[in-house]
Each structure stands twice: as structure tokens, then as C-alpha cells.
Symmetry: D2
Subunit: 285 residues, 4 copies
């Protein structure tokens, strides 16, 4: 009933006949398209595409698919990736002291909410260890200070590689990653910022929001780039507040937002529904 | 810069190669696809499709397009329609005493918010005449009572035909249309109901909502079918209320919802973004 | 810094001077009002009131307060209750197989999100036992069938009494409680229904919503009365859906709503912010 | 049935017995409290209060009320104002070329949505004249350039004074008012900014939002102070967008937000529901 499916994510310069050529490739192989999304950025003249098809009676095997598709992709001058359903995305979660986002991700993994698994958790504090243990997930502590940062990050990267980690989720991880680290996982580090970006960048956004007297607070999940809080936004949501809310109330209300917004971003990412368009995202939801 | 574009809306039994075949048709004619949406109802095994392409260098003329596409459509056993940008949808607005929805539609027409024009307004009351006159739109009054209803509706239909009306929008029109009337405009009569359907069907939904003590009220725009308030839903939205709100407050807050929800439904309809799927809609927004 | 506070919840026939008389009672005792909310139902001519004051320098002791206030309350013909901060509400959670709402409540208890504790969990299935054990909360299984229902409920009530349970939260508990049971906890049983009531009452609301083709789904938390899904609504919220969402997607999206809506209702209840007004609630948020 | 009511807005240093003293003042005069709101800023130790009572059998006349209340107010070291229902707030609307906010305000005035009247409209362009004329409201054009600005503002202020204007609403008025002008109407100039402040301050917020790739856009209504876009926020709201939306779509969607958010702010202001707390507002909604 749920056969294996292929997911193609592709972007290339816009041109005539792109949909026809790619869908012919699938059709000629005997594939049945399950879902298809297309977007053209008319200013940048770029074409974005996601298509999912049934592999059951498809003539090209999973193994050969990339090779078979490559000639067409090169002709289109495309950036592309192919995934298959059934492959779980391997996610490492980084956490510090606040564990509500970590808990949310663990809970959704248990419910099979999205095709991802969490083979390990990394923290700069020991606080979340018991939660990790309850879920039987290896938990590594790398305390960070200005002196040891480069060395610790190196160890972290080695550990991530050994575990074939694909994507890193910063679940309220309070350390800034170095450019070197980030360069190892371009477009594959997801952060949650507890404000409606670009409002209240930097530290203590709830305090900033309280002092500015806004009537709505938000949370933003984005890919991490070298510019802190400036990476491509994946998902945002908001909640209404009032003069009755103290900074503590904002923290409490914001916690629910952070959890949901981060979980949605991970959901889209794990289902390969996101394409990068410069500093923006295309999310085929 | 803004060349004429063709819009194809199509649904048919799901099958392999549908996207390829239709996009080949466009590609072979030299058309550049601007936007494409696809949906498969896997339970009903039905394929829904909307595609927009540039007519500028397209080899088939606007006039011949339907004839050229028909053979493929018949092969696919499809229900389909083709529209062209630049053609304004001709809408007749029906109104009674509350004129906020009418005003919203007139205001948006003036702003060119959607490709539609309002060549005439029909009412069972004279109240909205001055608003119609300010906008220089012919205004017709057809008072309705149980005795004259059939005869009045006949006159209305004649008037609508003479004016080549495509779509009817019931902007808080307080009369129930007969099945005969509705049969003349299948899938082309849009209503706004001032509740979050299916909650509070029938009369006085704000009073019903007040008495039930709900914490949120809504508005629903839907296509009209013979079953009152049961037609396919196009758009809904809500607003939060509290114990402080009286029935009058609900009416006031709901007014803003009704306007926006109806206007969005008309926007989707006028842009040919809606396909019917039984008693449900596919809205490619 | 955080002294003990008194919370008075009161409703009575509306009359002149009510605020003055009650605030004089507090003021004369030397109490400083921290927060005050008032509502008049002008149709029912009923006055609703919540006031919180600092007990630190208040001349009347916690113990004597009810006795000292009673004469005034009787004069006003009032229904009233007095609570003190620091007293944790004792909640029994009833659960069946879906444990996301239970998990949410346990998580919030751990974070001290609201002044409540969960001394026991009751279920008609053993499924949630390991979650209860992880949180070190006694877990009781009472399987229910038509024959044993009355006897099992009796046992449950005995257990609740032995544990001084104040409030029962039905966290997706799939059994209907008998009137006898409900009469034991009037206005103190909170349920979560997975639809935007009064739409989609009864079973399988997500399936109903899918089939009706609504564009928004909701969740509703309400007090339980003898009429199933008809009790006073405490809190509701919604999430937008589209034709792309299957029934499974509605269940997944709805889960997040249910958790948040139930948790908010429990928050208001545990903080003594809710007054009943017939089949409606006054929530002083 | 709808007798005249008094509305007292007051703020003062927090202290014991404040509610009792003020409600005694009303109670001793024989006034029946219709609605009462209270807020304490515990950080600033400031008390905020709004109370509405029936003047029907109140012993102090409308004329004498301020004098009678003054001694108590002075004792409390309070900032305060008293209004009466039935007095319409006199609002001057300033507009430039975009007239959707102006239209919304005129429409709501016609519906008696709030107790305000618009005796005159001022613009730096002639564009909105016909709309003003249709509503029979005097329309004044004051073209502004760097040289004539001071002189033109002087003339505007004279005109506003002659017309006993209480409040100025900037309905997408594209000129920056001078400090001199603003000082004449402290806390009585309401602006609408077409972003979710503090995000995207300054010019072209929709273009900024498009380029940043946010998933939600907003609008903010605030009191005008010397710091552009930094005044106390009255109301905000948002709408979800996606990668499919062009800058033009943001403008179109944002228009609906701007209208609604500004109208809500004017509603709260005209009903005397707003108190200033430094650079923040208390809105008793």
C-alpha cells in the first residue's frame, strides 16, 4: 500500500519545457506522480521543483536513479537531490538548559510524526541527560569556553561524522557555532529563535519584547548561516499578548510557540519540502 | 511584460503520465509554464490540475486552443475549462440590507484587486441604491414574497443572461434561492455565511454563538447548492471573542470577518483557482 | 517577595456598590489588591468578580477568612469560593490510549507552569503505564465494559476521595462518564474535544471535518455535564488546513491543538480564573 | 435604557485601598458600576484604572463631576480624565495617496462602530477629495515641501483648533510630523505602520519583508512620538504569507491588515480604553 517513493528536489534557471522534460523522465520510466510542486521566482528567473513518484513499477532502480537522472540535470544546469521514503533523516539535536524543544522533538519521533531519527544529543551542559536516557539516546556533553571552543567543535564534528548525521537541530542551544562548523553543514543546521525575526535579534528577545510593549510575540525557525539570526527563515508563528503579561508570561507563552514552530520546520526539512532561494526558503507545504 | 496567459483547470481519473502529457502539450506549442498546481485525491483516485502558461510565443491561438486541447481532454476523460488573463469575470452581486460585503467587493474592484467586474447589483430592498449609484453600477430591486418568488427569479435570470453574468455573489442576500435558480449557475454562486460552518447553520448564527458561549466565531464562504449552508466550502476564518462580547459585539467583529472571507473567496474564484471535488473544494492558493 | 495571596471568586445578583463593599472588606483588613476583574451579564443581571490580594499584612488569618467574609457574601446572595496561592490543585488525569494530552500535562507540571499537581492517573487501558512510571505517578487501570461500568466508577470515586482529588481532567479519555459520576464533581471535570464545538460533536470529528471539507479545524476544552459535548466551553483554538491534508494530517495537526487548548484550560482552572454563568464560562485571563 | 455613563481613566502610584476609595466615591454618589478594569505594573509600582458607571441616578452632575473628583485624585497623585458617553470624539484624518485606511474609517463612522466623528480630512495631495466629498466631509490640501513645512503645519494646527479636533489619525499619511506639531497632541496622534514593529521600521516595509523572506507580515498601530515608529503600540495583527507571494501580494494582503488594525486602535481610543505606561500602552479591551 505504501510503496517506496522517490522525491526529487531541484532548482535551475527558468526555461521553457522544464516540467515536461522532468515529468517525461518519470513517465517514460513508468512512474506515477504522487505529488508535484513548482515555483518560479520571476525576478531571479529561477525554477524550483519538487516531485514525488511511486517507485513500485518504476523501471530505474533506486541505486541507478541518480546516474540516470544526471544527464538531464546537467543539461538544465540544476542543483538537485533525490531521496527515498523509508530513509530516515539522521538528526543530531544540540541543547543547553531549556529542554522543552528537545522534549518536543523526542515526543514527535516517538509518534513517528516525521521520517527522522535522533541517534545522538549533544549539549554544553549535563542537564538534559536524564531525558536522553529515558529515551535511550546517547548523550554527549561538550562544555564550551572561549579557549576550548575550536577543539570541542572539532570533536563534535568527528562524532557527527561517525554517526552519519545529516542534519543538526539547535533546540535552544545557547552557543554560537563557528563559521568553520557551519561550513560543514550548509543548509543543514536548523535553529529556533524565540522572537518574530527580524524583530528582537540577539539575546533576551522576550525581555526586549516586554520593554517595547508589543501586542504579539513570535518564534522563528531558520537555517543557520554565519550571520546570527539572519539565515533563511523556514517557519514562524505568533501568539497574542497584553499588558497583563510579565516577562515570565512571555517566556511561558513563547515556549509553546518555540516547540511548535521548530517541530514544523523539522517536519518540512525531514520530508524534503524545502529549497533554498538565496537567503529565502521555498517551503512546499 | 504582462503578456496574455492561458489558465487550464482540469480534473480527471488519476493515471500515470498525466502531468507529462499535459505539459508536453504546452511545451510542444512553445508555451512557458508560469505556474502549476496538482493534487491527487488518493481515496477517490482523482487528479486535479491547474496550469498557467504564457501565450506570447504559443503557436496555438486563443481562439483555437479549446479545439486543439479537446482530443487530449477526451482521452483523459477530463472535466476542464480554459480561461485567459485579461478576461474579466462578470459578477452580479445580490444584496439585502447589510451592505458591508457589497461595499468591500466594490472597493476591491476599484483597486483592481482581482480580475472581475460588477456590471449590476440586484437586491430585494432599495437600501443599497445610493452606494450602487456612487459606483455607477445599475441597481435592480426585485422584492420577493412567497407568491411572486418564481416569477421574480425568472426575471432575474433573464437580466443576468442579458448581461452575460458568469458568477453570482450573495453578499448577505437574505433570500433563499430556488433549486431552479441554482441549477442555472452550478458552482457559480458564492455565498457568505456568518458562522464557522458547520457550526451554527441557519438563522441568527451570532445569537446562537452568544448563547452557546463559544470563544471563537467564524465566517464561511461557500458555493451554493440546494442544501442550505451545505455547499462546498471555499474559505473560512475566525476571530477570538470573550465573555465581554455581547451579541452586538459579535455582529460588529463578525462583519470584518465576513468581508474579508467573502473577498478572498471571490479572489480565488475570479482567478480560476478553485476546482470542485464532490462537496469539497480544491483551492490552489 | 511572593507572599501568600488570597483569591476570591464570586458571583451574585447585580447591584449598586458591590465593588465598593468587597474592596472595602479587603481594604479595611489592610489587604493590597494585586489584581481585580469584574464582569456584569446585563441580560441576566448577574455580577461576576475575581480579586486577588496580598495576605502579608492582612489582619484576618487564612483560617478565619471564610468565616469573616460569609456575612457579606450572604447579604449579597453570592456564590463564592476563596483560595490561597501556594495551595496546589490536586488533579486526577483520566486517559485511554492517546497519551499526547497526558504528556503535555505532565510536562507542564514539571515546569511548574500552573499551581497543580497530579497525584494519580486513571486509565481504562494499561498503555500509558510506562509514562506514568517515568514521572513516578501512581497509575490505576479500570477496564470498563457495559456490565462493570457502575461498579468501576464507584471504585474510581472512592480512590479519588482517598486522594483528596479536586479536579478531574479527561485527557482524551474515551469513556463516557455516568451522570452519577459527574454529579460528584460539578464544574470540576475538564474535557478536551477534538473539534471546534459545536461543529462535529460526537465520534470521529477529524473524519467528519475531512468529509465536510472545512478549511480550518479546532479543538475545544469544556466542563463536562450530562449532555455530551454540550458543557460550558473554557477555551478553543484552531489551525488552518487545506485540500492537501488527509484525515491522518488532521489528526497530526489536531494533536498539537488539543494539547495546547487543554493545557490552557487547566491553567485557567488551576489559577481559579473561571466562573460559571449557566452553560457559559467567564474566563478572567 | 442607554443612560449617559461616566468613564474615568486614571493612573497613579500603587497603594493600598485605591479600588475601595474610588469605588466608594462612585457608590456614595449612587452610581452603578457598569464595567471596571484594573492593572498594576508591579515593576513600576503604578496603578492603572478604568471604570464606567451609570449617571442616571448619580447625585453629582456631569458638570460638577471633575471638581468633585479632583480632591481624591490629588490625594492619590493621579493622572486622570473623565469622559461621558454620548460625547463623540472629534477626529481629523490625515491621508496621502493610499485611501484604503481613510475609507475604512469613514465606513465605520457611517455604521456608528465607535463614538467618533470626522469633521475634516487633511491631505498633502488632492487624490482623496472625491471620497471626502461623497461623505460630505470638508477636505483640505496642504502640500508639503522642506521649505514650507513649518508654515503649513502651523496652518494645519490652526485649522484643527478651530474645529475642536481632539485626536489625529494618520491613515497612511506619508509625511513626518515635526516635534512641534506632535507636542500639540501628546498621546493623541494615532499612526498605522505597515509592518510588525519593531521589524521593518522606516520606508518600504513590504519590500523589506519580501527580501528578508519572512513567513508572516504584520501591521502596527501606535501613538506618534518624536521617534519615528517608536511610539507606544496600541494594536498589531498579522497574516501568513509564502514564497508564492510577490511584493505586490504583500501590499494587497497587508492592506486588509492595515485597515483592520488601525480601525481597532481608533475603536479603543475613542472608547477611552487606553492608558499610557511610559512607551507602552494598557488597552482595556
Amino acid at each position: 500500500m505504501n510503496h517506496k517513493r522517490a522525491i526529487l528536489l531541484l532548482s535551475c534557471p527558468d526555461n521553457k519545457g522544464l516540467v515536461a522534460r522532468i515529468s517525461n523522465f518519470i513517465s517514460e520510466g513508468g512512474g506515477n506522480i504522487i505529488s508535484l510542486n513548482e515555483h518560479v521566482d520571476t525576478l531571479e528567473k529561477t525554477f524550483f521543483f519538487r516531485v514525488v513518484w511511486d517507485m513500485e513499477k518504476f523501471k530505474i532502480s533506486e541505486k541507478e536513479l541518480e546516474n540516470e537522472f544526471r544527464p538531464l540535470a546537467e543539461e538544465l544546469d540544476a542543483t538537485w537531490q533525490i531521496h527515498f521514503t523509508g530513509q530516515k533523516l539522521r538528526i543530531a539535536v544540540f541543547v543547553s538548559r531549556y529542554d522543552h524543544c528537545l522534549q518536543e522533538l523526542l515526543w514527535r519521533q516517538r509518534l513517528d510524526d516525521y521520517p527522522a531519527e535522533i541517534p545522538l544529543i549533544i549539549s554544553n551542559h549535563p542537564d538534559a541527560r536524564s531525558m536522553a536516557e529515558y529515551h535511550r539516546i546517547p548523550f554527549y556533553v561538550f562544555p564550551i569556553d572561549p579557549e576550548n571552543k575550536a577543539a570541542q567543535e572539532e570533536k563534535e564534528i568527528r562524532l557527527l561524522r561517525e554517526n552519519n548525521i545529516d542534519t543538526i537541530v539547535l533546540a535552544r542551544y545557547m552557543q554560537v557555532l563557528s563559521s568553520t562548523f557551519i561550513d560543514n553543514y550548509p543548509g543543514r543546521i536548523i535553529n529556533i529563535h524565540h522572537s518574530f525575526l527580524p524583530a528582537f535579534m540577539g539575546g533576551n528577545p522576550y525581555k526586549q519584547a516586554y520593554e517595547r510593549g508589543v501586542k504579539i510575540i513570535g518564534a522563528t525557525s531558520h537555517y543557520v548561516t554565519e550571520d546570527l539570526d539572519e539565515g533563511p527563515i523556514i517557519e514562524q508563528d505568533i501568539v497574542r499578548i497584553s499588558h497583563r503579561d510579565t516577562t515570565e508570561d512571555l517566556i511561558r507563552k513563547g515556549r509553546d510557540l518555540e516547540r511548535i514552530v521548530l517541530a514544523r520546520a523539522v517536519y518540512f526539512h525531514a520530508q524534503h519540502r524545502i529549497l533554498l532561494n538565496g537567503r529565502k526558503t521555498i517551503v512546499f507545504d
